[in-house]
């Protein structure tokens, strides 16, 4: 048996330009242990995984495999050293059968020996205690089934070291149980497993040791038995164990409540949401959103926030349940996104680059998007260039956008300045319902404060705002009430001043 760590990171750092994504991290992973790497979004977990798997090279520090210093130049090098990764996004061909996906890249170019292939898949599956039909079409399988194939594919390469990136995040509790049993069997085969997760339940279920990352640094590393769930939550969020998390009540909440109207602007009842791959994201959620209030949706990403916002924006249809918008008659999904916008809905999308702006077009043209019916900008189908440019110049001044002028392609601007234009556009018609998905993500402190100030300003003017955010600081700073999505369930809504960060953190972690 080999002694010493199978994989060791020694003082590893990674910087992108001026930004230090990973700062001096050292980790040792022993043979046959299940090691948890936890942290909030953006803590640096995936950068660590990418370095372990050879996708990127560290800027400083060394990586050792079985004591030997290595410099991976591609995932292939890492594979050759016995390091396999199961990514969050599966690399499968949906039109192929399980067996065909399995054979891809490993089978010889000649005739496929399907019966041998099927036997091999069944043997591998049995070795970790799962069942799989080699002839099933991958596109017809659910997430859990597709994940099984990815794990089996990784195991087929006979790795010594298996990295699972957020494996349980998208699974139902039953499927997660099966996954954990399989991991247990993989460990017994002497394979080390690194589990990247932000679900604490997973850590205490199957992991031997845990490392907590926060803002690119390793906060702590140790045996799981040395920690209580509260410790880990506190470490993930503040970097200190047992820190008293600030939970002062929101001073403005009382005044805001007074401004609320009687009928809610948005009424959500028994909503069931499915992910694009068909899995259940949220089983049932109901809430009201009143005028003059900010309702925050907290939770680890991928728990249905995206689907919720897109459903309310009219961009996709919920699986079950109803959404009512006070400005329009009947079920919200019976109206087109354009009708919703004209009725006063505004949407700051989560994915700014793909859904928010057209990179190659100018600021003025981007400001015009969604306002093409506005008589001030378009008359008889012809764009009134002067008035659009004037309006854009005004917006550039009001929002302090750093640009060479209204005709500059928006793709040249920094993310924060792009986001300011998106907000300006969405606020232009004084919406009565604003959906803001991660509006200040990736922005510097000053711009974040500006964005939050704008949300408060419009809330006080009577707008109903649904704020999706992964940042508890932001939620505590501006929201009136909060709901948490985790494990297909909805917690809350609860007024901010009646809850604590610990409680919300525990809900997020699925407790």
């Amino acid at each position: 048996m080999i002694s010493g760590p199978i994989l060791a990171l020694d003082g590893v750092s990674k910087s992108y330009g001026d930004v230090l994504a990973i700062d001096d991290v050292s980790l040792n992973i022993a043979v046959g242990e299940v090691f948890a790497l936890i942290g909030e979004n953006g803590a640096g977990k995936s950068t660590i995984v990418k370095m372990m798997s050879g996708e990127i090279a560290p800027s400083r520090g060394t990586i050792r495999v079985l004591g030997e210093k290595v410099a991976f130049s591609s995932p292939r090098d890492a594979l050759a050293r016995g390091i396999s990764v199961v990514h969050q996004h599966y690399a499968l061909v949906p039109d192929f059968t399980v067996a065909e996906n399995f054979a891809l890249g490993t089978a010889p170019l000649g005739r496929l020996d399907r019966s041998a292939l099927n036997r091999r898949i069944r043997t591998l599956a049995a070795s970790v205690g799962v069942e799989i039909d080699p002839d099933a079409l991958v596109g017809s399988l659910d997430v859990a089934g597709q994940q099984k194939i990815e794990i089996l594919k990784a195991l087929a390469r006979e790795p010594r070291f298996l990295i699972l990136d957020e494996p349980a995040a998208v699974l139902s509790p039953e499927d997660a149980d099966r996954l954990f049993l399989a991991i247990e069997r993989i460990r017994r085969q002497g394979i080390s497993v690194v589990l990247v997760t932000h679900r604490l339940a997973d850590v205490f279920r199957i992991c031997d040791r845990v490392a907590v990352m926060r803002m690119g640094r390793l906060v702590v590393e140790g045996d799981v038995t040395n920690f209580a769930p509260e410790d880990l939550i506190s470490l993930m969020m503040t970097g200190e164990r047992g820190a008293a998390l600030p939970s002062q009540p929101c001073a403005r909440a009382a005044t805001a409540t007074a401004a609320r109207g009687d009928t809610p602007v948005l009424q959500v009842r028994d909503l069931e949401l499915h992910r694009a791959n068909g899995s259940v994201a949220v089983r049932s959620m109901s809430f009201d959103l009143a005028a003059g209030e900010i309702l925050a949706v907290a939770g680890v990403e991928g728990n249905g926030q995206t689907e919720l916002v897109r459903s309310i924006a009219g961009l996709e249809r919920q699986a079950c349940g109803s959404i009512g918008f006070s400005a329009l008659e009947g079920e919200l999904s019976s109206h087109s996104p354009q009708a919703l916008r004209q009725a006063g809905l505004a949407h700051v999308p989560e994915d700014r680059i793909h859904d928010g702006i057209v990179l190659t077009q100018s600021l003025a043209e981007n400001l015009l998007l969604g306002h093409l019916h506005h008589p001030a900008f378009v008359r008889k189908g012809v764009i009134r260039r002067d008035s659009v440019v004037r309006q854009t110049t005004q917006v550039i001044q009001d929002y302090g956008i750093r640009t060479t002028g209204p005709m500059q392609p928006i793709g040249r601007l920094s993310g924060g300045n792009q986001q300011k234009l998106v907000l300006a556009r969405e606020f232009m018609n004084d919406p009565c319902l604003l959906l803001a998905a991660h509006p200040s993500r990736g922005l510097d402190i000053r711009t974040s404060a500006l964005v939050q100030g704008l949300l408060i300003e419009h809330r006080d003017r009577g707008a109903a705002i649904l704020l999706v955010s992964a940042d508890l600081d932001e939620i505590w700073a501006i929201a009136d009430r909060v709901i948490v999505l985790s494990d297909t369930r909805m917690h809350g809504p609860v007024p901010i001043h009646e809850t604590t960060r610990q409680e919300v953190g525990a809900w997020m972690a699925g407790h």
């Binding site: 292939r76 690399a91 061909v93 039109d95 996906n101 890249g105 170019l109 496929l112």
Partner: protein, 305 residues
């Protein structure tokens, strides 16, 4: 029409189908890997010209065929280089290839052969003795050119390759989900370049068949739309080589029939007959099967990361 005319139409229809079949088979493989080549018309013209030129100079249609294959590979690689390496729009590069092929073959023909008629040592029809003299089946099945049998066998072989071999799996994955194929360690661009070259080589054979087996000699723009009919065959067959065989046969027989009908019905303007295969192609596209989904990444360049 009496039986003799029908049998002759079918027999020559098979011959008419072959240039389309070769081009369509090559295009099927190329498109399966995600490379759309609308320029096969141009490659066929180059193939037709090179086959005539080299056969005349060497006296052997086989050497001419090799030259056509080499020319096809060169143009297929040119297209591949443009769209796979340089990520040029596939339609634009393909159309450039049509123009390039027409220009080069026409110019080369005038330059090398003075644009005049030449006696081409073409492929002869096989004579299988007794078999070839059987009524009906003799002329239809046993009196074709050797290359025609190669083409039909190739359709089945490529069908098997795409469905049942590791190579086929690789090609399909590259056209369907290149990210997954890349993650499995497959070099996407290399596979696509090879498939583009293979498609070009078969289009070259198609052109050579046209000028040295179906006809005997080169005329400017002699391919006259067969490259585009081949593209239609690929879609109509839902990217299945054996399906492409039947689609090509349908067009070939329609083409052969229209030639005969021109003579039978002199009152009808002959143009009405000439467009017949194209009308069939258009109608075929509107049928339910014609709208089937092709390779998901057809026409899209692969960019890492």
């Amino acid at each position: 029409m009496d039986q003799v005319v029908v049998v002759a139409a079918i027999a020559s229809g098979i011959r008419f189908a072959m240039p389309i079949l070769f081009a369509a088979l090559g295009e099927t493989v190329s498109e399966k890997a995600g490379v759309l080549n609308v320029g096969i018309e141009g490659i066929m013209l180059i193939g037709a010209f090179l086959a005539v030129l080299i056969s005349v100079q060497t006296g052997s249609p086989w050497v001419g065929l090799l030259a056509a294959i080499a020319g096809g590979i060169a143009l297929g690689l040119l297209h591949g280089w443009m769209v796979v390496v340089l990520k040029v729009d596939q339609i634009v590069s393909g159309i450039a290839l049509v123009v390039l092929g027409a220009g080069l073959s026409g110019f080369g023909y005038r330059l090398a052969l003075d644009g005049g008629a030449v006696r081409v040592p073409g492929f002869r029809q096989l004579d299988l003795g007794l078999l070839s003299h059987l009524p009906v089946v003799g002329p239809v099945l046993f009196s074709q050119h050797f290359l025609a049998y190669v083409g039909i066998a190739l359709a089945f072989a490529l069908g098997f390759m795409l469905r049942r071999t590791g190579l086929g799996l690789t090609i399909r994955a590259v056209g369907e989900t290149p990210e997954a194929a890349a993650a499995a360690g497959i070099e996407i661009d290399r596979v696509r370049l090879c498939c583009a070259a293979f498609g070009g080589s078969l289009a070259g054979i198609g052109g050579a068949f046209l000028s040295t087996a179906q006809l005997a000699g080169f005329v400017e723009n002699m391919v006259s739309g067969r490259g585009f009919i081949a593209l239609a065959c690929v879609v109509f067959s839902r990217w299945r080589p054996v399906g492409a065989l039947f689609a090509a046969l349908a067009f070939g027989i329609a083409d052969a029939a229209q030639v005969r009908m021109q003579a039978l019905y002199p009152d009808i303007p002959y143009q009405a007959f000439i467009i017949l295969p194209f009308v069939i192609a258009l109608l075929a596209m509107t049928m339910p099967g014609g709208a089937a989904r092709g390779p998901a990444q057809l026409g899209r360049p692969f960019r890492r990361g």
